[in-house]
Symmetry: C2
Subunit: 86 residues, 2 copies
């Protein structure tokens, strides 16, 4: 599964475009976000991507979970969001 890393500086529209592209190819994509700002952009991206995909009859849902991410040699707890087209 493709992994998209989202930061607090990511543009939600760009995140949405990347999600829509991945979903069309693979039906599933994982977003990774560390920190509240990054998670905020990731969730906005999913909400916008729903609008991109709804006309094709794809209903996006997401499953949030905790994940350990290595950041410059340190383990940090982030959130992963598995996004699935139904």
């Amino acid at each position: 599964m493709e992994i998209l890393k989202v930061s607090s500086k990511s543009n939600p529209n760009s995140v949405a475009g990347a999600i829509a592209g991945s979903i069309k190819e693979q039906d599933k994509v994982e977003l990774q976000a560390i920190g509240a700002g990054a998670l905020n952009q990731a969730i906005k991206g999913i909400a916008i991507a729903r609008g991109f995909l709804a006309p094709s009859g794809v209903d996006l849902v997401c499953v949030p979970a905790f994940t350990e991410v290595d950041v410059e040699g340190n383990d940090r707890t982030g959130i992963k969001l598995i996004v699935k087209g139904e």
Copy 2:
């Protein structure tokens, strides 16, 4: 559908408990969050609630969308998360 308002000061474990309680009764619950900090607590709550409900065979998914919320007479854009047990 029940609406749970989550703030940046909400405890994710308490949010998770409220989600699990609502899902057992109604299969569906809406979380509302305004701002990145509140959304962060809401998503953590969903991730934790998945662990509460998984032993009963319930797989939680969430659908994020934008929503207008009235805060002291002003319209603010927040995020609503429809949480469903599958």
